[in-house]
Amino acid sequence: MMIKRNYFLPLYKVIHFYYDGFRNMSSWGKKVWVIIIIKLFIIFAVLKIFFFPDFLQKKFDTDSKRSEYVIDQLTNSPK
């Protein structure tokens, strides 16, 4: 008799492990997850986008222009 091997079983077990873990989470666990989600939203969707653009990436198109700018800063910076 042939036994069919279920290749998705390990993946299912992993998904079930996380699903079950989140579903049966303690009250403090739920609270910290709410904090984590709010925090990550503030950090990545608000701070990063609106307040923290990469200065050189935004100002110049190419790496060579960025290099030239930094060389200028290094050679012309006032004392």
């Binding site: 873990g21 910290v32 307040f51 923290f52 200065f55 050679t75 910076s77 004392k79």
Partner: protein, 519 residues
């Protein structure tokens, strides 16, 4: 033409970075140490099969989880600040920072998404041994993750293993092992993780003593104190040992910083180590900068000479000697010498830039070869940052901040050695419960250990000033030319965000502590 540097921009950028780093560092050391403490407790549970140990492990694991979750991603903001506020610096450091931070990021991601999940979701779902292995892997992984950040920071204190490329204006890593095994990195890693172990030990002892004062959870509290008093004592001795080796390294690679944290202005033989002192402004000056003097000090005679030079007759240079020279015993370069050498390096870089502009390939090759030659690197490029100083005395960090942060850290470090020894003695003699005054000291040691830990970073970073990268780049050159107002706005936003996170952590933690371990 470069616009004039707005010093309020530099100050706000520094203040913002300091605020973020200080808050981030509230969460990190507890994670580093508590992870190992929990792993030790779980090991005892697995070996004995005693369910009380499991209950105890789960209680401390809960506090670890709260701290870990609230602290997640607070360090990422520092990376945002590099790109926005410190763009010249970010570009200049090149892949020296990129490689360690990438390793840290990958390590942290896999650690957090797999083994932390097993730690919290895996009780009764995976085997005891697999769960225990996951707990240990979280502890080891968290500490290894810290290694890469500290390697990057150590490079800022003692830049090694790189070559500066004048075409790209970036430092390129040429020797990964030199960066990884930088003496400052080794000292810093060992000192930092052992201080994290100590902080977590004091934290556990403090919370356990609260249970004892409330006459609750005696079994758990006494065993928690036993484990953490031993772990804390070993860690505190390691902190003292690595602090000593770290100070010796600093005396070699950052001598002005070393002299600043001892407030030693004039070099001497048989130099004493200041155990404690109070500083005041004096009438003396180094150039335009006022010199500090002691109102009083308690000194261990000859100890500083022994510490740095191996014997009490060794000459220990003071700030004055290092900056202005003029003392026969000091044979090294003065800041004025270094300023000249740095200016020469800057001139060569300027020549290179001009040759590039007119596309003079022959001259470009010649200058590049000269620029990256060993002699030029050792004698000029090494002091590149000094070209940006106005006056020699600008190389002096804030002596009061360096002195007090160093001495607060050291005094508290010895206090915790004493606390751990006393805890063990009282516990083993069965007298801990009767000495309620000592339980109160343990409880009030929690804020003290955080002060000691933060003081260490204040010393490391403030003592390095005016440099962002020692001798290569001062902070005012590293900063991006953005508006000071926008940096101030984000400073305020961060202050609100981090304070809210801290309040959330403390309130959730206090609630869990009051609830106690679950049956």
């Amino acid at each position: 033409m470069i616009e004039h540097i707005d010093m309020s921009l530099v100050d706000w950028s520094r203040a913002q970075f300091a605020l973020t780093a200080i808050y981030h560092w509230i969460f990190v050391p507890l994670t580093l140490g508590l992870s190992f403490i929990v792993a030790m407790m779980e090991t005892i549970y697995v070996r004995t099969g005693n369910e009380e140990w499991k209950r105890m492990t789960r209680f401390w694991m809960t506090l670890f989880g709260i701290n870990f979750a609230i602290g997640i991603a607070t360090g990422i903001i520092l990376e945002f600040e590099f790109g926005t506020n410190w763009s010249n610096y970010s570009w200049f450091v090149g892949d020296i920072f990129g490689a360690p931070l990438a390793i840290e990021g990958i390590l942290a991601f896999f650690l957090e998404s797999t083994f932390v999940a097993v730690m919290f979701f895996g009780w009764n779902k995976v085997s005891k041994k697999f769960h225990l292995a996951s707990t240990w892997l979280v502890a080891i992984g968290a500490n290894l993750s810290a290694l890469w950040i500290l390697v990057a920071n150590a490079w800022m204190q003692n830049p090694v293993g790189m070559v500066f490329n004048p075409d790209t204006a970036r430092n390129e890593m040429v020797n990964f092992w030199a960066v990884l095994f930088n003496q400052v990195a080794i000292d810093k890693f060992l000192h930092t993780i052992s201080s994290g172990f100590l902080l977590a030990s004091v934290f556990v002892m403090g919370i356990s003593s609260w249970f004892l004062l409330k006459k609750r959870e005696e079994w758990m509290a006494l065993r928690s104190i036993l484990i953490t008093a031993i772990f804390g004592l070993l860690s505190s001795l390691m902190v003292a040992f690595t602090g000593d080796t770290s100070a010796r390294t600093i005396a070699k690679v950052q001598p002005i910083k070393f002299a600043a944290f001892e407030a030693q202005y004039d070099g001497t033989r048989n130099a004493g180590l200041v155990a404690f002192g109070i500083l005041k402004d004096s009438d003396k000056k180094i150039g335009e900068k006022k010199v500090k003097d002691f109102v009083f000090k308690i000194q261990i005679p000859g100890f500083l000479s022994v510490l740095t030079g191996g014997d009490k007759d060794a000459f220990v240079p003071g700030i004055n000697d290092l900056v202005m020279g003029g003392v026969a015993e000091y044979k090294g370069l003065t800041v004025a010498d270094k300023m000249q050498r740095g200016t020469d390096a800057k001139d060569v870089l300027n020549d290179y830039k001009r040759a590039k502009l007119v596309n003079n390939r022959e001259q470009l090759e010649l200058i590049k070869e000269y620029f990256q030659g060993k002699t030029f690197v050792e004698e000029n490029l090494k002091y590149f940052g000094y070209a940006f100083l106005d006056l020699p005395e600008d190389a002096i960090p804030n002596v009061s901040v360096s002195f007090y942060s160093f001495h607060i850290m050291v005094i508290l470090g010895f206090f915790f050695i004493l606390v751990c020894i006393l805890s063990l003695i009282l516990l083993l003699r069965g007298k801990l419960l009767k000495n309620r005054w000592f339980l109160r000291i343990l409880l009030f040691s929690i804020p003290l250990v955080y002060i000691a830990s933060e003081s260490g970073w204040v010393l490391a970073e403030m003592g390095r000033q005016p440099w962002i990268i020692q001798d290569l780049m001062p902070v005012n050159v590293a900063v991006s030319k953005i508006s000071a107002g926008s940096v101030m706005t984000t400073f305020i936003l961060f202050a609100i965000l981090f304070t809210a996170l801290l309040i959330a952590e403390v309130s959730i933690m206090v609630r869990q502590i009051k609830t106690g371990p679950k049956h």
